[in-house]
């Protein structure tokens, strides 16, 4: 098997048995990035010097017998993760020249285990988007069909896996931004429970919804990455102090008797026929594996997108107030006075989607509208959370589509933001409920585009969805297909 095709656990074995060094693996990845990135656009910044230095250090650790499963593994990060000394843009012109003075906890954890950083990945500006088209650093294309979007906002994180430019990547998920691109690009993507992974050093979009998670080639890799990332961090007061299970050890335990809920609101008319077909086949596979299906209801599903776009934009308008040209980021050259400097810096630095969401959020929080919009949305959020609590009394996991259609064409929805927002209907409720969910490769459309299915777990129930995902993967071969690029 080619180095670029390997999983984390596969590459780990090759490194451990000295068939391969981390420097060799890293060089193979860097060569692959150089060869295909002009077609794909997964990366905003490639860091060959840091990568090779990291790989050499990893090889020394391996030689000394100080080896972890992540030691020497070449990874890449969405450009939303702060990396000390390495430019971090969050896909925005306003952070074009920003060199962070410290690193995100999630990256430090991976780095301390000896992971190698290949570079920083393309994304929608400030993680606002479902197609990666709002990036200020160029189009990112779907490796399965380069006329199509890779999904968003972690588009580069998914495209880099599908294009075999990194062994695994990190993304963030506020309304589906890990799961939807994972589904569109045929990889595994996990959004952990809110509080499971530290967000210290992750540029904030909507703080009550944002969560960090891995995108990988298979479920075993996903379990490895989550195990490395999860846990309390005193630098993030919203991280939860709960023991981290050994996610890899319980993968093979099987799913006999697992109760799988099918929320009837997710099987709506208008679901793409190929997506429906993949769902039906996934249900059949699980039935064969011994799962027990339960018809459940999440009655407030239809209100989730509206709720999300009020809460997320309100929080974003507040979070993005920090970009004012004073302490870091772009400062306008042609301004007179302080307020004008702030206004011009922001107007020059932000793209259209970010401005639109700041405007919506500012409106929703403005005097006279706060109760009608923001507080109302927070109340509906309670109803949506209660739907999940009730439904999880009867089931262990839920099985749903990830996105209503396979990846759409680049440019297809850019002029209709509402249509773009509605494509997040199956992923948004999970963020509002704060629970965990994973996208899993489960088929292809007639046009050869990957389709994922979503497993939703109870809060801090990542073990169950990983185990269910692993069982599915053992019974299918979807995750083994690779884009012809």
């Amino acid at each position: 098997m080619d180095t670029i095709d390997m999983t984390i656990h596969g590459l780990h074995q090759a490194l451990e048995s000295k068939q391969l060094s981390s420097v060799e693996a890293t060089k193979a990845m860097l060569a692959r990035i150089e060869a295909v990135d002009p077609q794909v656009g997964s990366f905003i910044t490639v860091t060959p010097e840091q990568a090779l230095a990291g790989a050499e250090a990893a090889d020394r650790r391996i030689a000394a017998g100080d080896m972890d499963v992540l030691t020497g593994i070449p990874l890449a990060l969405k450009d939303i993760f702060l990396t000390e000394g390495i430019r971090t843009t969050c896909g925005s012109r306003i952070l074009d020249n920003f060199i962070p003075p410290y690193s995100a906890t999630s990256w430090e954890k991976l780095r301390d285990r000896g992971a190698v950083l290949l570079g920083k990945l393309n994304q929608d500006e400030f993680a606002m988007g479902s197609s990666n088209e709002s990036s200020a650093f160029g189009v990112c294309r779907n490796p399965w069909d380069t006329t199509r979007i890779p999904g968003g906002s972690s588009g580069g994180s998914a495209a880099a896996i599908a294009a075999r430019q990194a062994t695994a990547t990190l993304g963030t998920d506020t309304g589906g931004s890990i799961r939807q691109p994972a589904s569109h690009c045929g990889c595994v993507g996990l959004k952990p429970t809110y509080g499971r992974v530290s967000r210290y050093g992750v540029i904030a979009y909507a703080s009550s919804l944002d969560q960090v998670g891995p995108l990988t080639r298979d479920v075993t890799d996903c379990a490895i990455m989550l195990g490395a990332l999860a846990g309390y961090d005193h630098k993030d007061s919203t991280s939860v102090d709960l023991a981290v299970p050994d996610y890899v050890a319980t993968l093979p335990n099987g799913i006999k008797g697992l109760k799988v809920g099918l929320p009837r609101e997710y099987f709506i008319a208008g679901l793409d026929a190929d997506v429906q077909k993949a769902m039906d086949a996934a249900i059949e596979t699980y039935r064969r594996l011994g799962a027990e299906f339960v018809d459940i209801s999440l009655p407030h599903t239809d209100y989730a997108v509206a709720t999300y776009y009020l809460i997320a934009t309100a929080e974003a308008s507040s979070n993005l107030a920090r970009y004012e040209g004073v302490r870091f980021g772009h400062r306008s050259a042609g301004a007179e006075g302080l307020i004008d400097m702030m206004t011009k810096s922001r107007s020059e630095g932000f793209g259209a989607e970010v401005k639109r969401r700041i405007m919506l959020g500012t409106y929703a929080l403005s005097s006279g509208y706060y109760d009608a919009y923001y507080v109302k949305a927070q109340k509906v959020r309670t109803l949506i959370m209660n739907d999940f609590i009730k439904a999880f009394a009867d089931v262990d996991v839920m099985l749903t589509p990830v996105a209503p259609t396979p990846a759409f064409k680049i440019g297809e929805k850019v002029n209709d933001p509402l249509q773009m927002y509605l494509s997040d209907i199956f992923t948004i409720p999970v963020n509002l409920a704060g629970t965990c969910a994973m996208s899993l490769p489960a088929g292809f459309s007639a046009d050869g585009l990957p389709i994922g299915v979503q497993l939703i777990g109870r809060p801090f129930g990542e073990e169950a969805i990983l185990r269910a995902g692993y069982a599915f993967e053992q019974a299918t071969e979807w995750h083994l297909a690779s884009a012809n690029l």
Binding site: T238, R327, G329, R356, L418
Partner: protein
């Protein structure tokens, strides 16, 4: 309920954004479409429902009050668009 260009200008001022004439028109139309969609929440009875501001039940988060090394002036100012000595430089505040 409809957002006018004047409303867009008011919100833009609050958000410290300067929009072009075309942009204001486009945003007014798009905000109307999105806020029109969001109106559906009004049909839900939420009397007595407690608003959720945080997904995981959590009391005050405390940590030990330990002294640790600060980031240092030079590092903190390394990204400053304009710096003088150990300060961020900004245009005159009181005009």
């Amino acid at each position: 309920m409809s957002i006018s260009v004047a409303d867009v200008e008011y919100v833009a001022r609050l958000a410290r954004l300067e929009l072009g004439a075309d942009e204001k028109e486009v945003f007014a139309g798009q905000m109307n479409a999105i806020l029109g969609y969001v109106e559906k929440l009004k049909g839900l009875d939420t009397d007595g429902v407690i608003p959720t501001s945080h997904a995981v039940p959590m009391e005050n988060a405390f940590r030990e009050d330990l002294v640790s090394a600060p980031i240092g002036v030079d590092k903190a100012l390394a990204n400053a668009p304009q710096r003088s000595g150990s300060f961020f430089n900004v245009p005159q505040v009181i005009e």
